[in-house]
């Protein structure tokens, strides 16, 4: 399998004010490296405010990176979207969480789909209408919908339209930023099944952002966890759930709300999350998770752990897997 997208030490800082020392930056994405394989679904899960959407927007070109590289099929595309070539823009598309506000209520669905069809494929008139009907067919909506306004259709259907719009340019990669979190589980199931079918049909690669671990368990090839602007674990989906290694991952999985006692028993022992959530303006020293970590040792507040390969394809950023850990333990044993 070929690598379609690679982020190398990608950073995105926002300037949020200044103090005596000079400007103050918020490190929303703080040195993220990963590869996405062609045709896979990479799940991206993480804390609220950990920088997932910022990472997504940077990849699709809505933000210019502060540092690092984004390689698309080997070509560095880390410049802003308005400087990306049309040929490149059409390749990476995005679907937002809230279909209500991402579709203009003053346009018909035909007009909404028409825009990218003109822009990326030069289609007008009858050819455009035909292509728009074909897009609706892909998401199982009838042709009459071309004349409807987004405000007159349901939430699930709006999200189907947003997906159709993202597919209009015939992209090879689609970033899905919480595409179903506003929907009930039955409508969600239909949308995800549709996304899986479209992926096969059009050979799409997905970067799928969600808070729902039960969903990601069932759709992702691999899963990455983000905490305060950095990745802290990356593994194949099944292994990720069977052998989670990072303490934050274990906390996440143990907090997943489930609907039966059997599933309750499958979860790791509950690790309760307490206390304040640290800030991306003032990232804690050492391992940024240490203030909330139930397994921390003395080294954790001092040294920032490196990402370590613990098993084939399974990466973890935690001192329990670095050489520092045995040293710390020794200190413990002496004391």
């Amino acid at each position: 399998m070929a690598v379609i997208l690679e982020c190398r030490d990608l950073t995105k800082y926002f300037r949020v004010g200044r103090n005596k020392q000079g400007p103050v930056y918020l490190r929303a994405v703080d040195g993220v490296s990963f590869e996405v394989q062609e045709g896979e679904t990479l799940g991206l899960v993480g804390e609220s405010g950990s920088g997932k959407s910022t990472l997504a927007y940077t990849i699709v070109g809505m933000y210019r990176p502060t540092g690092g590289h984004i390689l698309f099929r080997g070509q560095d595309i880390g410049m802003e979207a308005d400087r990306r070539s049309m040929a490149l823009k059409k390749e990476i598309q995005i679907v937002f969480q809230d279909p209500g506000s991402s579709l203009n209520p003053r346009r018909t669905i035909g007009q909404i789909l028409g825009l990218p069809l003109v822009l990326h494929r030069g289609l007008r008139g009858a050819a455009q209408e035909e292509a728009a009907i074909e897009l609706l067919r892909k998401v199982e909506l009838p042709p009459e919908y071309l004349l409807k306004s987004p405000s007159s259709i349901g939430g699930g259907e709006k999200q189907m339209v947003a997906i159709a719009r993202a597919l209009a340019s015939e992209p090879s990669m689609v970033v899905l930023d919480e595409p179903t979190s506003a929907l009930d589980v039955s409508v969600q199931a239909k949308i995800i099944n549709k996304l899986i079918a479209l992926q096969r049909e059009m050979n799409l690669t997905y970067l799928f952002i969600t808070h729902d671990l039960s969903v990601i368990r069932n759709v992702a090839t691999r899963i990455a966890i983000m905490y305060l602007g950095r990745l802290c674990e990356l593994a194949q989906a099944a292994e990720f759930f069977e052998q989670p290694e990072h303490p934050y991952t274990r906390m996440l999985i143990s907090s997943v709300p489930v609907i039966s006692d059997e599933e309750e028993r499958l979860k790791p022992k509950k690790v309760e999350s307490r206390g304040e959530i640290p800030s991306p303006v003032n990232i804690p020293s050492g391992c940024s998770f240490h203030p909330r970590c139930p397994e921390r040792a003395s080294v954790c507040s001092k040294v920032n752990p490196e990402m370590v390969l613990v098993r084939p394809g399974h990466y973890v950023r935690c001192h329990q897997f670095t050489s520092c850990w045995s040293d710390t333990k020794k200190v413990g044993e002496i004391g």
Binding site: V16, S186, S214, V219, A238, L252, P257, E263
Partner: protein
């Protein structure tokens, strides 16, 4: 089980006027909330959950929303008959609502601080409205919902914050002053499960400390199971099933509830279910009989022509389906 009924909705109907007629959305809906009780409300996107909650607070858009029938009794008074002053009091003291969509609940042109401090100022008696005091309460309110950098957040505009941060700001606005009923419309959708867990614990403490009742609307059935005493399942504007939470998950009865529970993805894997076939009915011309009939594999002729009554199957479990008639 607490006994005093705080909220009693009886036979509520809500219609929206649109081009070509009325959308008959909420249909003969009845629902009770006892004092200190945590009630869950679940159902398909577009089934009318938010509409019902807005009716309780009388904040539906008056130009299009119409309530042809029904009563909403809060502490013995019909909200639908209240005057301006009573409504004002209901909204500032009686009931608070956490809105589903934090992006539209917050005004993009004001900072978070300006908006939050406004809410706090309004709730304080005039003699206590000092700038410093209001600011301190605002900082504390953000701490309570586990937001870091309170000062930065107060100075930020909504677009500068992540979805989950905006959501917690809306929660903090709703809980700064204690109320008798808190309506939480999807309070956890943009939060990761560890913070969601912390927020839900916070809501639970509110119930215990102030005896607040909660209506929790959520698409996460796991959250509903964990957080509520009783659950109402809504389909196309009507309640189709109500039961103590544990009972509902062990013994779902209504075909819609059964389909909904089967759609929940499992953390143990096994793929994504198909979802319930079909779509929610057109509210301009909803089915005459059971509103779920067009999607129900168990329906017969009677379901086509008659609305099923709400049947008491015992143990506080109610279901609106002919199959459970004795």
């Amino acid at each position: 089980m607490p006994e005093e009924i705080l909220l009693d909705i009886k036979g509520l109907n809500v219609w929206y006027r649109v081009y070509g007629g009325y959308l008959k959305v909420v249909h003969n809906l009845s629902l009770q909330v006892y004092r200190g009780e945590r009630v869950g409300l679940v159902g398909e996107a577009g089934c009318g959950k938010t509409t019902t909650m807005k009716a309780i607070l009388r904040i539906l858009p008056e130009s299009v929303a119409h309530i042809p029938r029904g009563e909403i009794i809060f502490r013995g008074r019909d909200v639908l008959k209240m005057n301006r002053a009573e409504l004002q009091k209901l909204r500032s003291r009686g009931i608070a609502m956490i809105f589903q969509d934090p992006t539209s609940a917050l005004n993009p042109v004001f900072t978070v601080g300006e908006q939050l401090e406004d809410v706090i100022r309004f709730a304080l008696p005039p003699e206590e409205r000092q700038k410093k005091r209001i600011h301190d309460i605002a900082v504390q309110a953000l701490k309570e919902v586990y937001l870091p950098d309170q000062e930065r957040i107060l100075q930020s505009y909504p677009v500068q914050l992540s979805g989950g941060m905006r959501q917690r700001i809306c929660i903090s606005m709703a809980i700064t002053t204690p109320r008798e009923l808190l309506i939480a419309d999807e309070p956890g959708t943009s939060l990761d499960v560890t913070i969601q867990d912390q927020i839900l614990r916070l809501l639970r403490e509110l119930v215990e400390k102030h005896g607040t009742s909660i209506i929790l609307i959520t698409h996460s059935l796991g959250v509903a199971r964990q957080m509520t005493d009783r659950i109402y399942v809504m389909y196309a504007g009507s309640i189709v099933e109500a039961a103590p939470s544990a009972t509902l998950f062990k013994e779902p009865l209504h075909p819609y509830t059964v389909g909904l529970l089967a759609s929940v993805p499992k953390i143990s894997g096994g793929g994504i279910a198909e979802g319930i076939p079909g779509r929610i009915p057109n509210y301009l011309n909803p089915p005459n009989g059971c509103r779920f009939q067009p999607r129900c594999s168990l329906s017969d002729d009677r379901c086509l022509s008659q609305s099923p009554p709400i049947l008491d199957v015992g143990g506080g479990h109610y279901v609106a389906c002919f199959r459970y008639e004795r």
